[in-house]
């Protein structure tokens, strides 16, 4: 029988990652390992480079220095086809959902499916679209356009659109930003359901500690362009570091 996860290569392995935009040094030596089946939450203030990190992972941005290995492949060295094949295994949920606003929900969900999976019949496409919509609990919105949906619904459809390709890795960019507390809880539940049902490995970018505590197996605190602390929620916040304490205090005391 095969060995357990301990001997497996991490799903995402980032070492010494640097990224600058002109004189703005956003990432300054980031190291991160994400093991299979793990939900890692990246916490940090706005503008600290959290989204930049996951955009480098998916190849939307390129790093200045450092190694980013995803599923054993160094992202910066991949050619166009290899990058496309890798992206098929990665789901990316955007902060503002990035739904195609000229298309209905059905067309949004079909869009990546019909272009990446060949020879699907109409009934197979319908079945998969209805399947992911059911998984995010929004079957009734199938013929609506994005402008008719609420913020929470848009987030869910955005997640459904990534799930339709059954990714191994999910990257969530601020999944609860701009949502009311109840919808935030529903999104947190959905992230955990996705992990259970689709066996995904995830990175969740957020500054919402409720989301971090509810969804994260591991928390990584990004400050000054590198991870100041990594560990469980309690390990990260059981500290005297003033900036981490104020981050916690703002979320849970005020």
């Amino acid at each position: 029988m095969a060995e357990t996860n301990n001997t497996q290569e991490p799903v995402i392995d980032i070492r010494g990652l640097y990224k600058s935009f002109g004189d703005l040094h956003v990432l300054r030596g980031v190291d991160l390992k994400v093991e299979k089946g793990e939900n890692v939450v990246v916490l940090g203030r706005s503008g600290t480079g959290k989204s930049v990190l996951i955009k480098i992972i998916v190849g939307l941005l390129s790093q200045d220095r450092g190694d980013v290995k995803v599923l054993g492949q160094e992202v910066s060295t991949l050619n166009e086809k290899e990058l496309r094949d890798l992206r098929l295994k990665i789901g990316f949920s955007f902060q503002n959902s990035a739904l195609y606003d000229s298309m209905t929900v059905r067309e949004n969900l079909e869009f990546p499916l019909v272009r990446n999976v060949k020879n699907l019949t109409r009934s197979e496409i319908d079945q998969q679209v209805e399947g992911v919509l059911d998984a995010v609990g929004l079957s009734q919105t199938i013929n609506q356009v994005p402008s008719e949906l609420s913020g929470g619904q848009r987030k869910r459809i955005g997640i459904a659109r990534t799930l339709i390709l059954q990714p191994e890795i999910m990257l969530y960019d601020e999944p609860t930003a701009g949502l009311d507390p109840i919808t935030c809880l529903e999104i947190n539940e959905l992230i955990n359901e996705v992990k259970e049902k689709y066996h995904t490995t995830s990175i969740i970018i957020t500054h919402d500690l409720t989301c971090a505590r509810a969804t994260g197996d591991k928390i990584a605190m990004l400050l000054d362009g590198r991870f100041l602390r990594q560990g469980t929620f309690e390990e990260v916040f059981n500290t005297d570091e003033e900036r981490i304490k104020s981050f916690y205090d703002y979320n849970f005391i005020q």
Partner: protein, 262 residues
């Protein structure tokens, strides 16, 4: 003490102008690379042809009709001085086929279609919809740019042909009201002086203008940045740059076609 870092090769404006030309050139080359690679997005191409072509019919028809009628009306006094009003259909047809129809269609389309492509793609860029296509392993360039540029290149010559016909109808209306010329006599006279070279040049111009409007609109929208301000800028520069290029192309094509004219 370290020397102050030199920020620009020439000057800020000159550097960005060179960079814009270089980026435009690579975008242009990428279009041809992507157009002949992989599966064509036919459904999107048809949708764009409908949006660009069918939805411009009214505006181009109206403008073409008025252009033909007014041009005829304004030309009459000059010809009347020489007692040559019978040449009016020929004169108007030459002006419309050789210059007016293609230019009117192109300028109207640059304003209507170019700005709409620039704004649409620009808004897709700033709301991360283009990134969303990319991360879902779909080639956004092929889906968005290739289809729109091809749709412009196909539909604008058709619109130009339509504009020619409607302009001639406008001219006919004016001529028949004033001189009582019949429909058949007008069109026989009109096409007497039109040669194959005129029609070929006219179609070639419309193809070039269509391609220009499509590629400029797509380039501006695809590379938009800085939020809503960037979307407005993309729409605006799509119109300004494509009109500028259309005038340059007009001059070049006229020079080349005159070289072949006996």
């Amino acid at each position: 003490m370290s020397a102050k870092r030199k920020e620009h090769v020439y000057s800020k404006r000159l550097d960005s102008a060179f960079l814009a030309v270089y980026n435009g050139y690579t975008f242009f080359l990428r279009f041809f690379r992507e157009a002949f690679k992989g599966r064509m997005e036919f459904q999107e191409l048809v949708k764009q042809c409908y949006a660009i072509g069918y939805k411009s019919l009214l505006l181009i028809g109206l403008t073409g009709f008025i252009t033909g009628m007014v041009f005829t009306k304004q030309s009459r006094p000059s010809l009347a001085e020489f007692g040559a009003t019978s040449w009016l259909p020929s004169l108007v047809a030459i002006a419309i086929v050789r210059a007016l129809a293609a230019l009117v269609t192109a300028l109207i389309s640059a304003g209507k279609v170019g700005s709409s492509i620039g704004a649409e793609l620009g808004s897709m860029r700033v709301t991360e919809q283009i990134d969303a296509m990319e991360v879902s392993a779909v080639n956004p360039f092929k889906f968005l740019v290739v289809t729109r540029v091809l749709a412009c290149t196909i539909t604008i010559p058709i619109l130009m042909f339509y504009c020619t016909m409607v302009s001639l109808m406008g001219a006919f209306l004016n001529v028949t009201l004033n001189e009582g010329t019949s429909f058949i006599a007008f069109f026989e006279n009109a096409f007497e002086q039109i040669t194959f070279l005129d029609i070929f040049t006219s179609v070639a111009k419309a193809v070039a203008y269509g391609f220009t409007i499509g590629i400029v609109g797509c380039y501006q929208g695809y590379n938009a940045s800085k939020g809503t301000e960037g979307v407005g800028k993309a729409a605006n520069s799509s119109v300004v740059i494509s009109m500028f290029l259309i005038f340059i192309e007009e001059v070049i094509i006229v020079q080349v076609s005159n070289y072949f004219r006996v």
